[in-house]
Symmetry: C2
Subunit: 357 residues, 2 copies
DNA sequence: CTGAAAGCGCTAACAC
DNA sequence: GTGTTAGCGCTTTCAG
């Protein structure tokens, strides 16, 4: 229903007093209705709602915040990157935040550096937020901000102290372990790991999961390959790997990101190695588009949605019931997506299949 | 410098009155300094700044907003999708907004449906924003919201009326045209187009650019192929195309999105068609990862950064100087990225090359 | 160049 | 169930 012309074209926006007058109640009653407080008669509630509707009344958040101390919004400091992972996480955070009845403020940190994250949190606090979520902070240890609202750390341990900190993992360790075990199960003697930048907590987590899987099977731990999440860095790693002598001992690589895996595979093939016949590769993230490249990428899916939803639930709890214990958080399930980039090592393969691939 | 303990551990946060007292000036002078207003002596300014620093003073935005009417933030209604394009655009918007000295509020619309977009704008207005940016609204025509702040429409014409609307294109028409012309230049008799969902404005724009290129060369316009941006839909289109008889007349396809192009290529290859030898494919967006798949995807790069920066510049101008004319907006450059998924049609190719590919 | 008084529009206590 | 009285912390007049 579009607002009819000539209704009440008064100059400025209607205030709660206008609604109260029209409804024939006090301003406080209007406030009660708008805040869904109990102890309001149904009659009064209806009148208020009708009046608000008629006036096109919009509650003034600034005034509400000033009077109540609550801002009704949650701030998120996000990584300044465009990867599938971060974008997906941010999307789900937004949904969860909105479903919880909060508005979202976003600040990006350049490369997630310590100073950047401190500044980002600082600016969020200045804008006014009831809680903040820090997604995958780069560094461990204290960053030098002191925060008086609850903070949710997504996928990493707390990077600074706050009124209350809640953490929510994305199960990276288990995921990395599952990826590695998949390769081991296929018969590979060991698995190489193409890691992300060392400063990232996510990198460490994946390295540890990989290590744990190797150790559990008594497999030899080869030296790490290093990347920076970009496909170009994956390509570089693959190039180095393939050109490194006639060494055919590496038969399996677990890359810490889908895009690096794609770059890696491309380099391997450019160098004449076949994937998965000569070398198997598994990625990390679960971007669906990589089901459509050749070979389709085997990967582990990060539970972005579950992590965001659970995390926000916890954060909102910490905001609204500061004195209660946090409800238990359920660990998201591990999802291995087996596609075409992994296979048994050359030594195990049926010769016929291997030949006419 | 971490805040020293035992400094002035008073219970609640310092207010401007505290700063004024410590600096030995009035509250108004503190306000002037913090707002960079003129007519403040350097001495006073220094004292105020020092006092604020010492107290760890943080200006209360809610109070400022209530008193001044300005919120210092810009709201963006974004598409609830995780594609490279939208993520990249949002990232650049955030940067531009922050560089302009504003905070960012984000609301996603489910699928960008009309009701969703109206609700999203509504909620932004309620939260309090000085301007809103609507990125790639799905529908044309009025959506039924009336807005009293300036609105920036990115990549589409205004979808509702506002205090002032500013639009910023992403050059989709020119980009689509360039993509099509590239294929025509290669010698293809005509070019098929795999379009996005019809409701999207972006879809229309690309169709028109494609059409214009075809018309300019007098090329026959084949029927449209339809997708929904997903790689799966690209695959479906490719499958239909390839299985459609022994019809080898289609030699070139321009897909409206990189991911659809990837799906398309995959289907084509599954069906035994070679890309680019039998069929050339060009995408749309410019996601760098697709330089690392086989074949590397030829595409056109959307000028997300330039569009976001220019658009925000215009929006901020509209907010801060409501009575001035908008500064001229420069059209972003067209960038065609030629990689390996395009080649001359079979009839033009060197037989030798064609055979041993 | 600086200060004093008066709200911005709402909610928090407390009465009724 | 409902209304009254005070502010929340800042910026805005308008005098000095």
């Amino acid at each position: 229903m579009a607002p009819a012309m000539g209704e009440n074209e008064s100059s400025s926006a209607p205030r709660s007093a206008d609604v109260a007058r029209l409804a024939g109640v006090s301003r406080k009653t209007v406030s009660r209705v708008l805040n869904n407080e109990p102890y309001v008669s149904d009659a009064a509630r209806r009148k208020v709602l009708a009046a608000a509707e008629e006036l096109g009344y919009r509650l003034n958040q600034a005034a509400r915040t000033l009077a109540s101390g609550r801002t009704g919004s949650i701030g998120v400091v996000a990584l300044g990157t465009v990867g599938y992972g971060t974008a997906s996480l941010l999307l789900h955070i937004e949904r969860a935040v909105r479903d919880a009845g909060y508005a979202l403020r976003v600040v990006n940190t350049p490369d997630g550096d310590p100073v950047g994250i401190a500044g980002a949190v600082e600016s969020l606090l200045e804008q006014g937020v009831d809680g903040v979520v820090v997604s995958e902070p780069i560094v461990e240890g204290d960053v030098g901000v002191r925060v008086d609202v609850p903070v949710l750390f997504l996928g990493a341990p707390p990077a600074f102290s706050a009124a209350r900190t809640v953490t929510m993992g994305v199960g990276a360790h288990a995921l990395a372990r599952a990826a590695t075990e998949h390769l081991l199960d296929l018969g590979h003697a060991t698995v190489h790991h193409l890691a992300g930048p060392r400063r990232w907590y996510a990198t460490k987590d994946r390295i540890e999961g990989w290590r744990a899987a190797l150790a559990a099977r008594g497999a030899h731990e080869p030296p790490l390959l290093n990347g920076d999440w970009s496909p170009a860095s994956g390509y570089a790693a693959g190039y180095a790997l393939a050109s490194d002598t006639s060494d055919t001992s590496v038969t399996a690589v677990f890359a810490a990101g889908d895009e690096m895996a794609i770059g890696l595979i491309h380099a391997l093939r450019d160098a004449g190695r076949r994937v998965p016949e000569d070398i198997s590769v598994v990625g990390f993230d679960g971007n669906p588009v990589f089901a459509y490249v050749s070979p389709p990428l085997t990967t582990v899916r990060q539970p972005f949605e579950a992590a965001a939803r659970e995390g926000i639930r916890l954060l909102v709890h910490a905001i609204e019931k500061p004195d209660t214990d946090l409800p238990p958080a359920s660990d998201p399930p591990v999802q291995l997506v087996v596609r075409g980039s992994t296979a048994p090592p050359p030594s195990h393969q049926d010769k016929t299949v291997q030949r006419n691939a």
